[in-house]
């Protein structure tokens, strides 16, 4: 079953003649354990796709299903619960709350969802541990490096039993080696069964995905097919 499914999703802003078609009949299906990267130039609709998939915005037409549940017509309270329980978000600028420690930040979605504090904290610590930053649990965001902050942000996005991870330029301003680490961690989350959509303009980040979808003017113009395994790269002709 698809964790995320967009069927003919369109989104327009403004009125004619100045109407903008941010998304135009987009179909996209993401399975459990799959990472899909969305690439496209500025204004192609990448971020709109992510906010609609995350139920933060309504499409003008078309259907969005998360774990088989249609978002259209879903009462606001239920939608908010879905966002807290099923969907994790990773933002470019981490968006950690400065007054909370790493462990408190990671546990926050569960606490907001009414999970008892000790249980939520334990789950937050487990998520930090899986991302290799358990020893930073008691530190505040301004006491962490950029790479550590992003790990905490990913821990917060996957804490509990999240099924769908939505990431907008998740490596932020990190250098390429640290950006690699962030993508490796997101990929590992997918290997544990999470579905992920990563919006990026960076081909090196997109290359971590199982599938790369190209958007242009709000339409899907192409997508990669599953490439052969890396073994084929290791048997080139001998050099001169």
């Amino acid at each position: 079953m698809s964790v995320l499914e967009l069927r003919g999703v369109s989104k327009t802003y403004g009125q004619e003649p100045a109407r903008v078609h941010a998304l135009d009949g987009v179909d996209l299906s993401v399975q459990a354990g799959e990472m899909v990267a969305v690439m496209g130039p500025s204004g192609s609709g990448k971020s709109t796709l992510l906010t609609i998939a995350g139920s933060l915005e309504e499409p003008t037409s078309g259907d969005v299903l998360v774990c088989g549940m249609a978002l259209a017509g879903m009462p606001p309270g239920r939608k908010a619960r879905l966002r807290r329980r099923v969907i994790g978000y990773v933002f470019q600028d981490f968006n950690l709350l400065p007054g909370l420690t790493a462990a408190e930040n990671a546990a926050l979605p569960l606490e907001l969802d009414g999970v008892a504090v000790p249980k939520a904290r334990a789950a937050g610590l487990a998520a930090l541990d899986a991302l290799g930053v358990a020893d930073r649990a008691g530190r505040f965001p301004d006491q962490l490096s950029g790479g550590e902050r992003q790990r905490v942000a990913i821990a917060r996005a996957v804490v509990g039993d999240r099924r769908l991870l939505l990431a907008d330029e998740p490596s932020g301003a990190l250098d390429s080696v640290n950006a690699d680490e962030v993508m490796r961690l997101l990929h590992q989350a997918c290997q544990r069964g999470v579905a992920a959509v990563v919006v990026t303009h960076d081909a090196q980040l997109a290359a971590w995905a199982d599938r790369v979808v190209f958007l242009r003017d709000g339409r899907v113009t192409g997508q990669t097919s599953r490439p052969p395994g890396p073994e084929s790269l290791l048997t080139p002709g001998e050099i001169r």
């Binding site: 090196q204 113009t221 790269l233």
Partner: protein, 198 residues
């Protein structure tokens, strides 16, 4: 890729036999660049001729052997290696890149959708980058040589995809503003001359 200088680098660590050099060369480059043994001995012969390496004709068991020489780097070889490491490769002339030619042609041929042409190449490059990234995820995690080679390939392919993105945007803008001049005339003859050197 300069095989002689990489062999000199391996000899700088201490005397070695030809087969050993081949194995270490392949391991050091993440086994991405295989090297045949004939090529190793041919290159060692040239290094010896040029006074950059010398051999003692002793086999692994310490006995005199004609086919299994042990090679060591000379002072001149160490100097040549140090100079090579610090000499930037010639990147001044733009290569005659087939992909660049295809996009230039696509932008001119009537009835051709340049965006579609660019997208086809971009998809191919991304699939190639996905393959290299899988290596980074697996074997390259604990193999520094392979990690460096994989990074180099990914940055090279990334540069091409970024150029394709820029080309796509430029061609689109040019189509939307047809009255603007398509090229800066002064730059063209100079590039042609540079390209002609290859």
């Amino acid at each position: 890729m300069s095989v002689p200088h990489v062999l000199l680098a391996l000899l700088a660590e201490g005397p070695k036999y030809g087969l050993q050099l081949r194995e270490e060369f392949e391991a050091g480059t993440g086994e991405v660049w295989p090297l045949n043994v004939g090529q190793v001995y041919k290159t060692l012969g040239r290094l010896e001729r040029d006074g950059l390496a010398e051999s003692d004709g002793t086999g692994p068991d310490g006995r005199e052997k004609t086919g299994q020489k042990r090679f060591r780097i000379t002072a001149a070889g160490a100097e040549a290696l140090a100079a090579w490491l610090r000499t930037p490769p010639d990147l001044t002339a733009p290569p005659r890149d087939e992909l660049v030619m295809k996009v230039l042609v696509a932008a001119r041929v009537p009835g051709t959708d340049a965006h579609e042409v660019i997208l086809a190449h971009r998809l191919y490059l991304l699939e190639l980058m996905q393959q290299w990234t899988r290596l980074k995820e697996g074997e390259a995690r604990d193999d520094l040589g392979l990690a460096l080679v994989v990074d180099a390939e990914l940055f090279r392919l990334d540069a091409v995809t970024r150029w394709l993105d820029a080309a796509d945007t430029r061609i689109r803008r040019a189509a939307a503003e047809p009255s603007r001049p398509a090229a800066v005339p002064a730059a063209v003859p100079q590039l042609r001359r540079l390209g002609a050197r290859r």
